[in-house]
C-alpha cells in the first residue's frame, strides 16, 4: 500500500520508493530507504502534508509525495 494511505499512529516498513529525479533522491538521502520503519505522527489540519517519524526524527512530506512510497503495514 501507499504511505499516503496510512492513518495516524500507524507504523509501516518501506518497500519501495517510486517517483523520479530530485524528489526520490531527496527522500532516500533523508534516510527513508527500503526497510526503514516509518511512524505516521499526524496529518496537518488541512490533511496535507503528513508528519512522519523516521530514524528518530520528525519529517513532513506532501501527501502526493508520500504516495510515491510503497509500504507494508506493521502491526
Amino acid at each position: 500500500m501507499k504511505l499516503s494511505e496510512l492513518k495516524q499512529a500507524q507504523t509501516a516498513l518501506v518497500v519501495r520508493i517510486g517517483g523520479n529525479g530530485a524528489l526520490r533522491r531527496r527522500i532516500l538521502e533523508m534516510g527513508i530507504i527500503k526497510g526503514t520503519k516509518i511512524y505516521v505522527e499526524k496529518y496537518a489540519p488541512l490533511k496535507d502534508p503528513v508528519e512522519l517519524i523516521v530514524k528518530g526524527y520528525h519529517v513532513s512530506l506532501r501527501v502526493e509525495e508520500a504516495a510515491q512510497i510503497i509500504v507494508e503495514l506493521m502491526e
Binding site: 529525479g21 489540519p45 496535507d48 520528525h58 512530506l61
Partner: protein
Amino acid sequence: MEQASFTIALAGNPNSGKTTIFNMITGTRQKVGNWPGVTVEKKEGRIKKFGHDLNIIDLPGTYSLTPFSIEEIVARDFILEEKPDVVIDIIDASNLERSLYLATQLRELDCSKVLFALNMHDLARARGVKIDAEKLSELLDVPVVFTVGNKNEGVEALLKTAVELAEKGRTTKLKRRVKYNQDVELAIQDLSALIGAQVGSQLGYDLRWMTIKLLEDDNILKKRIVEKLPEKAQAVLEAAHAQRENLVRRLNEEPEIIMTDERYGFIAGIIKEVLTTSRRQRVDISRNIDMVLTNRFLGFPIFILLIWAMFQLTFTMGAYPMEWIEQGVAGLSAGLAALMPDGIVKELLLDGIVAGVGSVIVFLPNILILFFCIALFEDTGYMARAAFLMDRIMHLIGLHGKSFIPMLMGFGCNVPAVMAARTLESEKDRILTILITPFMSCSARLPIYIVLAGTFFSNKAGSVLFAIYLTGIVMAILSGRLLRSTLLKGADAPFVMELPPYRMPMARSLIIHMWDRSKLFLRKMGGVILIGSILIWVLSAFPREVAYSRNYAEVKQQIETEFTNRLETAAAVNRPALEQEKAGRLAHLEKHRQMEKSEKSWMGMIGKVIAPVFAPLGIDWRGGIALLSGFVAKEIVVSTMGVLYAAENEADALQTALAASGMTPLSALAMMFFVLLYVPCLATIASIRRETASLKWTVFSVVYSTLVAWLAAFTVYQGGRLLGFA
C-alpha cells in the same frame, strides 16, 4: 610557533546547532554577506587563536552534498574549490544516523581534513542515546569532539582539535570508506583508470570521488569538465555514460539510488557499533508541544494569533520609535535650514537627501522588530510548523508553506516583506514570492485610496477599498500560477522538511540574527535610496529658472503692501482676522507658484510627454506625474497631487479640487488599481535587487508590475465606459 592562517569551514545538517557554534566561536567578529551570485547567506568570522589567524566559514546547512539545491552547490563548491584546511562537520548527536550521510559524503570528497563535533550530546543522553566516540573516531578515521553549543561546552576543545589537525599538514588517504557492491566497484575501477589518464589532478579533485560522481550523472561536475578541459571532455563523458548505462542494465536501477542505499548500509554498520539506545522511553516535550501547536483544531487559531501578535509588535510598537526618527529627521532638517545659506546646495541636502533618506530610515524600527520575531520563530522551530500548517494553501499558488509570512507582511510594508523571503530555501520559491509580494497592498498606499475613494465613492468607499485589497490578493495568486508555469517552471522543490525539536532560543543568537539582517538593510538601502532621492529631486528642481506666467514676487509685494495699509487703518479687534486673511492669500499664491513650477520642471515635462500613456486610463498629466513620483514612495503621491491640483492645506480641499479637475469616479477607480499594482517604492525595488541578487529579476519585477497595473487600469476604465459608466 609560526604564524600561519587556516581556513576552517563548518558543515552540518540544518538544525544541528551549527550557527550556534559559529556564533560561539566568532562572537561579534563576523561578516555577513552573500555567496557570489546567489542569495544564500554567507557568514564569515576572523579570529586569532592558538597563535594562528583563523578564518571561520559557516557553510549553508544541508542534508547532503548532492548538488540539487543552491545551498548544497555552494557548500560543495566551497570545499572543492577553496579547499579549507579543516571541515568541521557538526552532527546532532540525537540524530546520528541521518547526520552521518553528509559525513560520508564529506569524506568521499577527500579534499579537506574532516572533524566531527557531536553536538547537543546532553540532549541525546537525556533521550537515552549513548555514543562511543572513540569507536566512531577509530572506524571513520576522524577526530570526534563532544560539544554543547548553546552552553559553550567543548567549543574551545573543538577549535583546538581543528587547529592541531590543520597544523599536521596533508595526511595520507583515508583507510576506510564506503564500499559499494561489486558491479559498482568494477565500474569505478574501469572508469577511474580512464579519468586518471585524461583528467588526473588537473581539476584538483579526488579521483575516486570524480568517478563516483560521474557514475551518478552529476551535472555540475560534468559541466565543469566540459568548461575546464574541453578537449578531453567528450572521451570522459562518453565513457562515463557507457559505464552508467551498463550499470543501469545490470542493477535494473539508477546507480545513484543504489549508492545512496549502500551509503546508508555503511552507516547502519557503524551505528550498530557505536550507538546504544536505552529502552527507557522518555516523555518527549517537543511532541507534546506539537500536540497543541499543530493540533487539528487549535493549530490554525494559534498560528493566526501568533502572526497577529507579530504584526502588532512590528507596526504598533514600531510606530513609537518611528515617530522619534521622524522627529529627529525633521529636527535635523530644521537645523540645517537655519544654519545653511539659501541656495542649490541647501535644497539638494534638505529636499533631496534628508527628505529621501529620511523617508526610508523610518522603516528601521519595523525591520528590527520584524526580524526579531522571525528569528524567534526560526530559532524555536516554530517556522517549520507554520510551513507545515500553511503548505496546503500556499501549494495552490505553487509556493512553499513558508511563503505565507512574507506575503502577509506585505500588507504592512513591502520592504521587510521582500526581505522576509530569505527564509525560503529554494531560490525559485524565493524569487516567485518576491515577485508577487508587492501586489499585497501596503499601508503607504492606503492614504491614496482614502482620498480617491472618499472623493468619488463617498458612501461606497468601504466596499471599494475591500475590492482593491482583494484584487491585490487575486493578482498575486494569478501571477504566481502564471510565473510558476512559465518563467519559474521546473520541479517544485520537494517538500521534504524536517520538523526539528522545539528549542529555547538564545538571546545572543536572536540579536545577532536581527542585527545582521538589519545592517544589510541600512547599508544597501542607503546607497540606492540616496541616488534615487537625488535623481527625483533633480527632476523636480530643474530647470532652476522657470518662465512664470506672472511675476509672483511682484504679486506678493502687492498683497503685502495692501495688507500693510489695511492693517494700519483697521481697528485693533479686526487685526487678527486680517492677519489670517493675509496669510491665506500668501499661501494660496505660493501654491500656485509651486504648481506652475512643477508643471514646468523636468518632471512636469516628462509628465506631459508621457500623458498619452495615461490618457487611455482616464488619468491626466497631473495624475501621471503623481504616479511617477510614486515610484519613490507612495507617501509622496498624495502630496504631489496636492501641489499639482493646487489644493489648499485643508484636507477636503484636495477632494474638491480633484472633483473639479474633470476626474470621474471611473478614472479614480482606474488610478487606484494602478496604485495598487505598480512598483510600491524605490526601497522595495532596492530590496528586490538585493534579495534576488539579480538585475534581471529586478527589472522584470518593475516592468511586469507596471504592465499589469496599466492593463488592469485600462480594463477598468475602458470596460467601465463600454458598460456605460462615465
